[in-house]
């Protein structure tokens, strides 16, 4: 088992190494086979591990395997060692399984791109780092994975490197997340300084004893900064929409299914710490809720298909953070899993659409693709339905329901959060079906060429569609006769809801929440469908205030505008003003001064005898005065 656990991240790493070193000389087929093969292998390994775990849970619910020592000095000890516990099992499952299908998809859709092997090298590296991130048993190793996925995100956003905009988007993504990482790193330093260890399990154990409330709050806040950066939460959400510059599989894998959820994972992983800081949890929930609503509104105003999905991701992640904030840890992870399926699906479908339209992504220039792109159409519909959380038939319904119930039932929840979540839900329905309508319904605006119809694309779309619709079965709530299997399984690690009354949740209340949420979702979806049922509606363009509002929304509430003035421009202004280095110039000043003085003291050089005698005289005067001065 341990060997398998170690092999899990190493297998994709092997793929990366081979592709990076020899990728240039391999055929595309070999590249695809290798790139997908190692991830398939990882998925298989995961399956074996999961079964093994299920059959014989390791003692303490955690299987630990140590690969090698990383560093050990002066009390710091960090090793390449991995932990398999319910949380990491679920996450690594998402990474390997969803990751595999996205790889498969990309094997076909990316075939015509230059840099095919480079793409798969990065992709494999990403899987490696993501697995390291979720499996790491100490914070330092986690940070390694954390930065690694950030790097892969950077490289893949900028995959089409010829265009400067792509590079800019990639850099922005990396830098904004790195800003958050400052918090994470300082938090780690602080934790180590107080607790003396970086081992996650040990930290979780000693944190309640060794941290005072104030320290815990500060550390939790700092770590939340890191999580918010990675998961594109308020106030760091600005990078994610721009990150859509990368190829669609990248958006699917990194910016929908896995990397962006790392923040959620981190908070869940360190929940004992966050439980010590209820104020921070409140903040997490509030920021998550506000971010969810704002992002949903922004999504409704986008004209770029992938940007709609990106804001939607921000919004859904916001919901997960709300769940985390109220203590519904399990629900957050549940939604994470479901979201991975449907959002990956949506992105892949969007990729298929845009590929068939010569990389066109503007919603207003699409339409009527229902018939020409049947596979994409069905997949997108499934994904949108799950995103909207159409009742009963979609997985999204169950996971979102779990979150809403968590908000309702938790002592940390409240009407405000519930309201935010419901409003988000409403708008989610609207924008999902707005996008669906604009792309697939109505009259055709442009003639697409043929859809990708290879086996890989079909297979991946099908499997992910199934996941988007059916993964809710993993944790069917009691109301529907389910066993909440996933949540129970996670319950071995994550605590349950901090119940407000201490009483068991009543079925009535649960039903009320469910019904309410369903209605809201249906309403939003219905409105959206109704308005965009025939493609782009023929209403005149907005004018005045309305247009301005739309623009603000489209720009994502103008965060970029503000940040540019607050941070970016001052930074570059300072950096440029320091060029040429004023300190260097200052150093030269001394030299200049010396030379100028030299000019003065050499000026008597050209004098005659009288000047020489004058020197003698002055010297005598000086000397005698000094000696007489006592």
């Amino acid at each position: 088992m341990k060997a398998l656990l170690l092999a899990l991240p190493l297998l994709p790493a092997l793929g990366f190494v081979v592709l990076a070193l020899f990728g240039g000389s391999l055929s595309r087929r070999a590249v695809a086979a290798l790139g997908c093969g190692v991830v398939a292998g990882a998925a298989l390994l995961w399956t074996v591990l999961a079964v093994g775990y299920g059959v014989a849970p390791p003692p303490g619910e955690a299987l630990r395997a140590n690969l090698a020592l990383w560093l050990a000095v002066g009390g710091v000890q960090a090793a390449f060692s991995f932990t398999l516990d319910p949380l990491s099992l679920v996450l690594s499952g998402v990474v390997t399984l969803v990751g595999f299908f996205i790889h498969l998809h990309a094997a076909e859709t990316m075939r015509s791109e230059a840099g095919y092997s480079r793409f798969f090298a990065y992709f494999n590296l990403f899987i490696t780092c993501m697995l390291v991130l979720v499996l790491a048993d100490n914070l330092l190793l986690l940070f390694l994975g954390w930065e690694g996925v950030g790097l892969c995100s950077y490289l893949l956003i900028g995959f089409w490197y010829e265009k400067n905009e792509n590079g800019r988007a990639a850099t922005k993504a990396f830098l904004v997340t790195r800003l958050g990482d400052v918090g994470l790193l300082v938090g780690m330093l602080w934790l180590f300084a107080v607790c003396g260890t970086l081992d996650i399990a040990a930290l979780n154990q000693v944190a309640p004893e060794s941290l005072t409330a104030g320290t815990a709050t500060m550390i939790a806040l700092l770590i939340f900064l890191g999580a918010a950066g990675k998961s594109a939460q308020l106030p760091f959400q600005v990078w994610l929409p721009d990150a859509m510059a990368g190829p669609s599989p990248v958006s699917a894998l990194i910016h929908a299914a896995t990397m962006v959820t790392a923040g959620v994972y981190l908070l869940a992983r360190l929940h004992p710490l966050f439980l010590l800081a209820p104020e921070v949890l409140g903040l997490v929930a509030l920021l998550g809720g506000a971010g969810a609503l704002l992002a949903a509104l922004a999504a409704a105003a986008q004209r770029d298909l992938k940007r709609v999905l990106a804001y939607s991701t921000v919004s859904q992640l916001g919901l997960m953070f709300v769940a985390l904030g109220v203590g519904a840890w399990r629900a957050a992870i549940f939604h994470l899993v479901v979201h991975a399926f449907f959002k990956a699906l949506l992105f892949l479908a969007a990729g298929v659409v845009s590929d068939s339209l010569h990389h066109e992504l503007n919603l207003l220039r699409m339409g009527g693709l229902r018939r020409r792109l049947p596979a994409a159409h069905l997949s997108f519909l499934a994904g949108a339905a799950s995103l909207t959380a159409l009742p009963l038939i979609t997985a999204g319904f169950y996971s979102k329901d779990a979150i809403l119930w968590g908000i309702w039932a938790s002592s940390q929840g409240g009407l405000l959060l519930l309201g935010l979540a419901l409003a988000t839900s409403l708008i989610t329905g609207w924008y999902s079906f707005r996008a669906y309508g604009l792309v697939f319904l109505g009259p055709a605006q442009r003639e697409p060429h043929d859809e990708h119809d290879g086996v890989p694309v079909r297979l991946s779309l099908t499997v992910l569609s199934l996941g988007a619709l059916a993964s809710g079965l993993l944790s069917l709530p009691h109301l529907f006769g389910g066993s909440q299997w996933l949540e129970t399984f996670l319950g071995r690690l994550l605590p349950g809801l901090p119940a407000s009354s201490g009483a068991l949740p009543s079925l009535t209340a649960e039903a009320a929440v469910t019904v309410g949420a369903s209605l809201v979702a249906l309403l939003g979806a219905g409105l959206g469908w109704w308005r965009y049922r025939a493609g782009r509606p023929a209403t005149p363009p907005l004018s005045g205030l309305g247009e301005q509002l739309r623009r603000v929304l489209e720009s994502g509430w103008g965060f970029d505008w503000v940040y540019a003035r607050l941070f970016v421009r001052p930074f570059w202004g300072t950096a440029r003003r320091l060029q040429p280095d004023p300190v260097e110039q200052g150093g030269d000043l001394a030299a200049r001064l010396s030379l100028a003085t030299a000019r003065v003291v050499t000026s008597p050089e050209t004098g005659g005898l009288r000047l020489l005698l004058l020197g003698l005289l002055i010297g005598a005067l000086l000397g005698v005065s000094i000696l007489l001065g006592r």
Binding site: D588, A591, R592, L595, T606, G608, L609, R610, L613
Partner: protein, 112 residues
């Protein structure tokens, strides 16, 4: 008239010293400069005489002898030198003794 005190003699020597100094500074003709130097040396002679008298020692006069020797040596070297220079340049002007002025040349490189 009161007895001559050391201070008075020294003051006199000082006055002569200053006159000699003025001479070498003010005059541009080298012959005069040499003469002025003699005046300065003589003021030192006088000062030594005063000091010797103050301590009633022969050393003062011995020193005067040495000074005379030095003065003679200086003059006997200085005057031929002066003459030779005069033959070469045709001048006795002290201010003209600056042929080295042309020896100034700029340094090889200015780094800053």
């Amino acid at each position: 008239m009161a007895a001559v005190t050391t201070e008075h003699v020294l003051a006199l020597a000082l006055a002569l010293f200053v006159l000699g100094l003025l001479g070498i500074l003010v005059r541009r003709d080298l012959i005069f400069v040499l003469m002025s130097l003699e005046i300065m040396l003589n003021s030192a002679v006088l000062a030594f005489a005063a000091a010797g008298a103050r301590w009633h020692q022969a050393d003062g006069q011995v020193w005067i002898l040495f000074i005379l020797v030095v003065a003679a040596a200086e003059v006997s070297v200085g005057l031929p030198l002066l003459l030779r220079l005069n033959r070469l340049t045709g001048t006795l002007d002290a201010a003209a003794l600056n042929s080295q002025r042309a020896g100034l040349s700029p340094p090889p490189e200015e780094p800053t």
